[in-house]
Structure formats: structure tokens, C-alpha cells
Symmetry: C2
Subunit: 405 residues, 2 copies
């Protein structure tokens, strides 16, 4: 194998969320005609619809024509100004739309540009385990060395459970970049103020750069405190924050993301965007005019609806007595540990899909060690989600009994 | 400077097409109130509107909801099938939508993924001079060594003017990848059947991989023959073809591109897309249903309208006796050499913008040697284009007289 074969062999997508449909043969589809398909690999934008007026706002953009189709690579200036102000209010960090913010094709685009702008070949990059699956893959693509930082989420309640000693040791050993999501994807835990402050202290002490993925920062449950890392005392050349309207606001189909940070980093990201995809879709960008300016109560209602689903699903899993999980504190994910079975998690996930028409994402996508966990995105129709979780429990029991009886 | 500073210092975007607006200060905008802005850096989608029904088709997609928002990373299967069939007819190369085609965010996205999937650090990459500005920048980003291949376009009429001897020498010297656009961007020349056949022979003889950018292949003037490299006898693992509806069809604002090639290469590109941007905007993808299925005569009419503008503009430039250019054979670009002035091309372009409110792209974006050329995209309102070219001629005369009288 040459270097590229090897590199791309590692970059697997077969188990990545959303890719399951590629394996749905006609035969399988047929055998499922009696079962409703519930796809927990991503949120259901039919159950939780996009921000009101999103389409209308895009049509206004299309009517503007060339001015909207061909924006600067980092996005339309007026839109950047507008959302920079609102994001400044949201995070407490004053940023300028002029040179501290970039609009990208999805927050995935922002993450790729940020990592591509900050990783030198061979650099050590600290990544939380578990965390968003692409972090690891992007670091590998740029030939970085990954240093895992444990998140002992099952045994904490006040903190997310990040091993700060491990983090300091990694920084001491020369880590250049730290990437983490808050709320954490896939576990849904929120970092405490204490943890965020300690991360900031370590960033400063060891001169490390950090990418904070705050994609779900608007969807925090139970009135919990959320602390933005960017609001701490950190040199702005050492932090990039990624946000976007794909999740809580259900705008994923418009492919919009946003990153903010120092002019130096944003300029690099824009240069990279120029060769990666030129710009986020011009017409789509218009939709951002609505963002952080939703109708009164809209966000609160949406967050409450997700909290209710979380309560139902965690209740079901816990009552079964078979699974380990920590109730989601922010975002739409549950990360569930299955009881000891003979099958590995990939086989479990494939069987669940083939036999019950239910799609979840294997834990191994979020870190190689998560061989007994799966993630589900519960931004779904509530009844469907309850039905499907009951199915998962029943299915697991059957698998368990097959082995143990 | 560390390695990244150096790398990003080379990745300039200040003179890239579309970026000029970033330099438009309020003061400059004011001083221009009496002059209409003519932006030749890209086509004007107000003058040549997007494919009819594009918006309606996207709205249908948005109404489908989740099924359209979350496609496979390489694009929605039904859409891939549909356009694969039509592209097979267009190019004469049979491709399957299943695993030989990927939908990307713009053809820029396709180019980045293709190069990222094929370049190993240190590889030699042959790039035509002049050619599309991003080719060079992407190769640099992936730490390739660029080998220039001359295109003597001004001194040929039957052929594009590629130096095939130089190409063979480069291949002999170990070039792994050859990237070229046909029709060529920025000169608008079309490779002859003879040239394409010779390129194919060299590709086979030296086992080189090629990326053919055919973005403008539907806009060929004067009934000229167009030969698709992919229709030649070449191992399909050695060729990726990039196409897209951003140009002739004016769909740039939807950010859609397409690449096709062997299952091996497309699989790599999909893996890379998974970490770069996940997928082309789901809702936008719906617009591709219309592509290569336009109302009867629509494409022919559009091509004819562009040919008419080409005739007018080349006539004006030639009549002035001050410029060198070859009339465009395909696509919407004219590449114009200015007479010897004391200013460099960047200063010329900036002055033209500041004094006349006319935007063109400096030749140095297309190869470091093109210090006396600029590119203009004449997909514009015809009257506006004629006015602006007259202004450019008058402006150049003034500059010239300042120096020589």
C-alpha cells in the first residue's frame, strides 16, 4: 500500500452517521415494509422543523441575485456583521464581523478549516475520548499524532468528567492543539465552569491552541449553567469557536456553519476555504439573517420539547436495568452502554438495523475504546422515539438471553 | 515563521476573483456613485439567470424534509443515478451513479477532494500555465512540487497550444498527477482532438493520473469539436473528471459540483468529503434533477448569446490595436495581454477598480508568469460589457500615453 492507500483506509465512513442508507439493499427495504424506520443517526427535521421563515429568507436572497450568489469567501459582510453582534451577546466575547468570523458550509466545514489552519504534520493533537467522530479523522488526515484525553462521564454529575491531569500531562508533553465539543458529542454532558476555567488556565500556561465546538450550546437542559471557553481570559490567537444552526435550529439541509477567532486564524481559514469550497452556498447564507433572532420563546419551547424526550428515553433505558447512561445535559444525544454481549458493537448496530429498522451510531466512531456503546440522536418525533427505544431494549434483552440462558 | 505561517503566506486570496469587495472601503464606494460597477471577476447571474425552475425544484426538496437534508455523503442516490445517465450520454463514458460519481459543494469542492485524494506529500504535479488559479494553490497546500506545462495559446489556432514535449518530459521525470481545464480557464481555448489523444497516450505510457476540469464543456462556440478525455482509452483509476452547473447554467449560488471516476477514487473523495463538509447542501442537490434536462433549445440559446458577446468584446479589443488575445473557443473568459506599462498587473487591476469601478482578475492568479494579462468573465449584460471594455481600452490608452508621451 502506498501512503495514500493507507491514509484513506483509516478514513472509514461505513459506520458514520447518515451513511447507513448506502447499505440498505432493495431486499432489506422489502423485509422492513412492516416496520417504521427510525433513524437515530441524526435529528429528524420533519419532527423538529427548520426555523420559521428560513425558506422565505433564502428566496429573498435568491431574488437579490449576483450579490447573494457571489459573496466574499468568508461570507456576506452584512450577514457577518449581523451575526457577529448576536454571537457576541450570546457568548460574552466581543467579536467583529469584519475579520473575526467566517461562514462555512456546515459546522463540519468550520472544523475542517480550523484544524487545517492549525495542524502541522506530526503535531500532537489532544482529543477527548469520546468526542465528535470527525475530530479524530481530520487530525489523521493532516498527519497529526492523536493524544486521547479521558472523559469519565459515567462517574461524574457536577463536572463533565474530563481528566484534567491527563490534559496537563499531554500539554506538558508538547500538544499543540486541543479539540473538544461542549456539550460533548456523543455523551451530552456539559463542562462545568470549574472545568472550563481549568482548561483556560492550562491553555495559557502551556501556550496550546484550542478549538471549542459549541454546536449545541443553545440547547442546555434543566437550567444548567453553560460557560463559554471564549469568554475566559485567553489570547484570541489561541482559540477558535465553532457554532452553527444545524442542530437546535434544524437548518442542516442549508449547510451553514460559523467559526470565530482572531483575525490571524480567520484569515487562514478563509484562504483554505478559497480552495476547499470557495464559500458557503450564497443563497443559503441569507438564512443566517434569522439566526439568534428567533420569534420570542421559540428556542425555549424547542429546548423544553427535547428535554421532555430525554426524560422519557432515559427513564425507559434506566427502568430496564440493562444499560449504563448519563442523562443528557445539553444537545440531542444519548450515549448508551449495552450489557456484555458476545457481539461487537458494529454487529449489534447492523443487526438492530436489519432486524428492527432502527439506526444508531456505534460508539467506536467516537473513540476506538467505545466498543460497547452506541449514540442516538433523540431529536425525533416523541412517540416514534419511545417506540424505538422500547424496541432497542427488547432487542437487547433477546440478544442477552440468547447468550446467558 | 513556522511551517504553517509559510504555507498560508503562499495561499493568497487578496487578488482572487470575488474577493475585491473586501477592499471596497466606504470612501471608494462613495466616489463611484457616478459609475456603474461592472464585475468581470465572475458571471452575472442577473444577466444570465439560473436554469428555469431551479428554485421550484429546491423547494420540492425542502418539502421532502429529512430525506433531502441528510443524503449520503456522496449525494442523494436517486439524483446520482439520474445525472450519471445524462453525463454518460454527454461524455460517451458510461458511469454508474452508484459508485462512480460524487456530488460536491461546487466544482471547487470536487477539485479539492480529487487533488486531496491523489496527492502524496512531495509528489510532482503537472499544471498548465495558465490554468485555473486554485489548481496551483491546492497543490501547494498538499505540499506537492508543481511542474509548469506551457500553453502557447496566442500562437495556435488549430490546437490549444499545449507543449506536449514538455508534458512528456515532466511525466518522464516522475510527475504523478496532471491537472488541466478544458476549455482552458483563463484563456478559453479548447484542446483539439489530436491534443486530447496525445495526452491520453502519455497518461497511459507513463502511468500518470489526470484530473480533467470540464466545467465549461457545455459552452463551446462556433460548432467546434469538443473531445472528452474520459472517452479515450484510459484506465479509469487514472482519471477524474470535474463538471458542474455553476457556469453555463448559472447555478453557482446553489454550490453544486460533480466529479466522476473509478469507484476507488470516488470512495476516497467521499471519505474526504465526510470530514471536509459532510455533503453538498441537501436541499441544493435537488436542483441537479433539472441538469442536462433543460427545456429544448435553452442551452443552445445561452451559448449563442455568449458567443455574440465574445464577438463584440474581441472586436473592440482587436480594433484598439493595443492588446493581445485569442478569441474564446469555449466558456466565458477572455484572457487579455496589456501593452507594456510601467505598472505591474496588480496595480493596473487595482487602478482600474478604483478609477473606473471595473473589476478584472490579474493574470498572476493563473500562473506566476502572467504579469501582463488579466482575465474577464463576459457572462454579463451585453451593453454593460461593451461599455466596460470601452472603458478598459480608454483607461489603458491613458496609462500608456502617460508613460510614452
Amino acid at each position: 500500500m502506498n501512503g495514500l492507500d493507507e491514509k484513506f483506509a483509516k478514513l472509514g465512513v461505513d459506520y458514520a452517521p447518515g451513511q447507513e442508507q448506502a447499505f440498505e439493499t432493495e431486499q432489506k427495504k422489502k423485509s422492513h415494509t412492516d416496520r417504521k424506520k427510525i433513524d437515530f443517526s441524526h435529528g429528524d427535521v420533519n419532527a423538529f422543523e427548520p426555523l420559521p421563515q428560513a425558506l422565505e429568507e433564502m428566496i429573498k436572497g435568491i431574488e437579490l441575485g449576483a450579490d447573494q450568489a457571489y459573496t466574499e469567501y468568508k461570507g456576506k459582510p452584512e450577514t457577518r456583521d449581523k451575526i457577529a453582534k448576536r454571537i457576541s451577546t450570546f457568548t460574552g466575547r466581543q467579536i467583529s464581523g469584519k475579520n473575526q468570523l467566517i461562514i462555512t458550509p456546515g459546522s463540519q466545514g468550520a472544523l475542517f478549516l480550523a484544524m487545517g489552519s492549525l495542524i502541522n504534520q506530526g503535531d500532537k493533537v489532544a482529543i477527548v475520548a469520546p468526542d465528535y467522530f470527525a475530530n479524530r479523522k481530520i487530525a489523521q488526515f493532516f498527519d497529526a499524532t492523536i493524544v486521547d484525553i479521558s472523559l469519565d462521564y459515567l462517574n461524574h454529575t457536577e463536572d463533565a468528567g474530563l481528566d484534567l491531569q491527563e490534559l496537563e500531562e499531554a500539554f506538558k508533553a508538547g500538544v499543540k492543539l486541543f479539540v473538544f465539543s461542549n456539550p460533548n458529542n456523543p455523551t451530552g454532558v456539559v463542562y462545568s465552569e470549574k472545568e472550563i476555567k481549568e482548561i483556560a488556565t492550562l491553555i495559557n500556561k502551556y501556550n496550546v491552541t484550542v478549538i471549542a465546538d459549541e454546536l449545541y450550546a443553545r440547547q442546555i437542559f434543566d437550567g444548567r449553567t453553560y460557560t463559554h471557553l471564549c469568554s475566559q481570559e485567553i489570547d484570541q490567537n489561541q482559540i477558535v469557536t465553532v457554532v452553527g444552526p444545524s442542530k437546535t435550529e434544524s437548518l442542516s439541509g442549508y449547510r451553514l456553519g460559523v467559526a470565530f477567532g482572531s483575525p490571524k486564524i480567520i484569515s487562514r481559514m478563509e484562504k483554505l476555504q478559497a480552495i476547499v469550497s470557495l464559500r458557503a452556498g450564497g443563497y443559503s447564507q441569507a438564512v443566517l439573517n434569522l439566526w439568534f433572532d428567533e420569534p420570542e420563546g421559540w428556542i425555549e419551547k424547542r429546548v423544553q420539547a427535547h428535554q421532555d424526550i430525554r426524560d422519557e428515553l432515559t427513564g425507559l433505558f434506566q427502568a430496564s436495568g440493562m444499560f449504563e447512561l448519563r442523562p443528557t445535559e445539553g444537545g440531542s444525544y444519548l450515549f448508551v452502554t449495552i450489557p456484555k454481549l458476545t457481539t461487537n458493537i458494529q454487529d449489534f448496530v447492523v443487526s438492530l438495523r436489519d432486524e428492527r429498522n432502527i439506526i444508531v451510531t456505534p460508539g467506536t466512531e467516537f473513540g476506538p475504546g467505545f466498543t460497547k456503546s452506541f449514540r442516538l440522536n433523540f431529536s425525533q418525533d416523541k412517540k416514534d422515539a419511545i417506540y424505538a427505544v422500547k424496541e432497542i431494549i427488547e432487542f437487547t434483552k433477546k440478544q442477552f438471553n440468547k447468550i446467558h440462558n
